[in-house]
């Protein structure tokens, strides 16, 4: 029995049924669709609608607004299972969750009534706009401005690398309302189609091609004052808090991807014969597979531990960084080894592992590069 199957014994009956459903959905249709959409570099709108219909757009959110009210751990289990078949779709759902998370934790009740119920039901999907052309890791130096004007803000500036920024219905946008640094930043909900807000360019990426990455331009885009999340100057806190949760999402995505690469490698190594025996019977290959399986299992345990801390209501920020760092490195290593085990077949599109390897790379970059994660962890360790 494979280790992920043994995990079943730790899940509640509902979680088991949920995992089974997502697995059937992935194996039954999503994996096949993913190949087509990746090839066409097209956003799978219908698949997001399917996730919404199945109630997967709001698993960890407040039942008062129609959310599932489940543990974050349960949501991450779904994300891992989705990523096992279609990473880009899991990423899109993760980004949506990021936007919901910021709104749920910091939005006032009228803002939540206006937007959260639509978002957790999946009637409207969200995106997260923090990065700019000149501010990536140094996010608090962002320069997009929100200037007050007659009960509204006028937003001007440019955002970069915004996942589904052109497809999402709502943006969680961070913009500067006063002086320099993190305390000058505020968070807003901006509706797609608002005058002055233009998704201008889709990036041509190495992987995650069915998850469009946008450059967004704002030219005096009016955003009502009531669309501000929290107080002026609290936007960076909203952004970072959502990022902590988002990092766990990336960790779960990483393990889902690594699991897929491991499964593909086990299948291939059991079928491929050289020198008269299956290559899985060679110790050289077995040792690689043993390392891959061990790392996947360790990564899964780490992100589940960090998520359990979040669910228990304690500070989990360091563990979230550790999980993001470790799991995405695991994904890179395991997918690279998967290509190696497949030999020449690993390098061609006929097998899925070359895609997995391309996809893994971005996991080490998004939601804070792994260098930033080390910085976050290190700072917490060093005595002040």
């Amino acid at each position: 029995m494979a280790s992920p199957e043994r995990l079943m014994h730790l899940l509640s009956e509902d979680e088991r049924a949920l995992r089974k459903m997502v697995r059937e959905l992935v194996d039954g249709e999503l994996r096949k669709l993913s190949t087509e959409y990746e090839e066409r570099a097209e956003d799978p709108k219908q698949s997001y609608q399917k996730l919404a219909e199945l109630g997967l757009a709001g698993i960890p959110f407040d039942p008062e607004y129609g959310g599932g009210g489940e543990r974050y751990l349960t949501y991450l289990m779904v994300i891992e299972e989705l990523a096992r078949g279609w990473l880009a779709l899991a990423i899109g759902l993760g980004v949506h969750t990021l936007a919901c998370d910021g709104l749920q934790r910091f939005g006032d009740s009228s803002l939540k009534e206006r937007y959260l119920a639509d978002m957790v039901s999946g009637r409207r999907f969200g995106a997260y706009a923090l990065s700019e052309p000149a501010s990536g890791s140094d996010a608090s130096s962002l320069s997009t401005k929100a200037t007050r004007s007659n009960g509204s803000y006028l937003v001007s500036g440019q955002k970069q690398f915004c996942t589904r920024g052109g497809e999402a219905d709502l943006l969680l946008l961070m913009a500067r309302t006063s002086g320099e640094g993190p305390r000058g930043i505020s968070a807003f909900i901006v509706e797609q189609g608002t005058e002055g807000f233009t998704p201008t360019k889709v990036e041509n990426k190495m992987g995650w091609r069915s998850s469009p990455t946008w450059e967004l331009v704002f030219e005096e885009c009016p955003v009502p004052e009531e669309n501000r999340i929290g107080n002026e100057g609290e936007g960076f806190k909203v952004a970072l808090s959502a990022l902590d949760a988002g990092r766990l999402g990336i960790a779960a995505c990483s393990i889902g991807l690594a699991q897929a690469a491991l499964e593909a490698s086990l299948r291939f190594a059991s079928e491929r014969e050289q020198f008269g025996s299956r290559i899985i019977d060679f110790q050289g290959i077995q040792f690689m597979l043993a390392d891959m399986a061990t790392q996947v299992e360790a990564g899964r345990a780490l992100y589940r531990h960090a998520a359990s801390l979040k669910d228990a209501g304690v500070d989990y920020s360091t563990e979230a960084s550790m999980a993001k760092l470790f799991c995405s490195d695991v994904a890179m290593k395991v997918t690279t080894d998967a290509v190696q085990i497949h030999g020449g077949y690993g390098y061609i599109e006929e097998y899925p592992v070359e895609r997995y390897m391309r996809e893994a790379k971005a996991l080490q970059i998004v939601e804070g590069t792994n260098q930033i994660q080390r910085m976050v962890i290190g700072r917490r360790l060093a005595p002040r």
């Binding site: 509902d14 049924a17 949920l18 059937e24 959905l25 109630g55 997967l56 599932g68």
Partner: protein
Amino acid sequence: MPLSIAVCVKRVPDTAAEKKLDDGDKTLDRDSVESILNPVDEMAVEEALKLKEANEGEVTIVCAGPEGAAQQAIRKALSMGADKGVHLKDDSLHGSDAQGIAYALAQVLKKGEYDLILCGAESTDARTNLVPPAIAEHLNLPNLNFVKNVETSDGKVTAHRETDKGHDVLESSTPAVLGVVWGANEPRYPSFKGIMAAKQKPLETLSAADAEIDASKVGLDGSKTEVLEFGARSTERQKNVVDNKEGDAHVKLADFLQQQKFI
């Protein structure tokens, strides 16, 4: 008019799993493999849910079997949208053959009032195709078997049965027992909310005595058929060599493909 629909379901070993038979009583070792709701029964559940959506009404899932897996099968159907479950659980049923189970299910069904009783036409493990007609016989009801596109109106039910050349349209009065054919529809996935709601839905457990089942008609002893022997299927491949000594290999090959109904 609101419809009262019962769907009989069975748990079966996962289609992809390797199955084992118990050497002792020659029944399937159901604990050794992951079990699932019989995929054909899932289609019967979907057909029932579509009828419910078109007419309003209630869908009751009926399943006989041991505690864990039978309840999982019922829960799966409830999470898809069925309204309540009835679980017939009794050790005396172990080893019942198709007619024994059909009798036992019929006894359970007698306790309710149903306009339609739907079953998967077959299970993916035993594949006898006997249960739906046998239930109909026990209940003295009409049976439309191997059907899809089930519709109801004014106390009547119609359904399509595919034939080699097209399809028959069958009609019967209700109540009736229908065996839903493989491929009748694409069963929906249970939704997150459906899964969470499933455990709140009523699930009644009946013993053989509750259902007034005559013990002499069920179980290994009550079965009219007996498994005498079993063995692994030979995996030897058939090899046909088409020679071209007379220059007619293409004809022979085409004939072969035609015989096998590939072309």
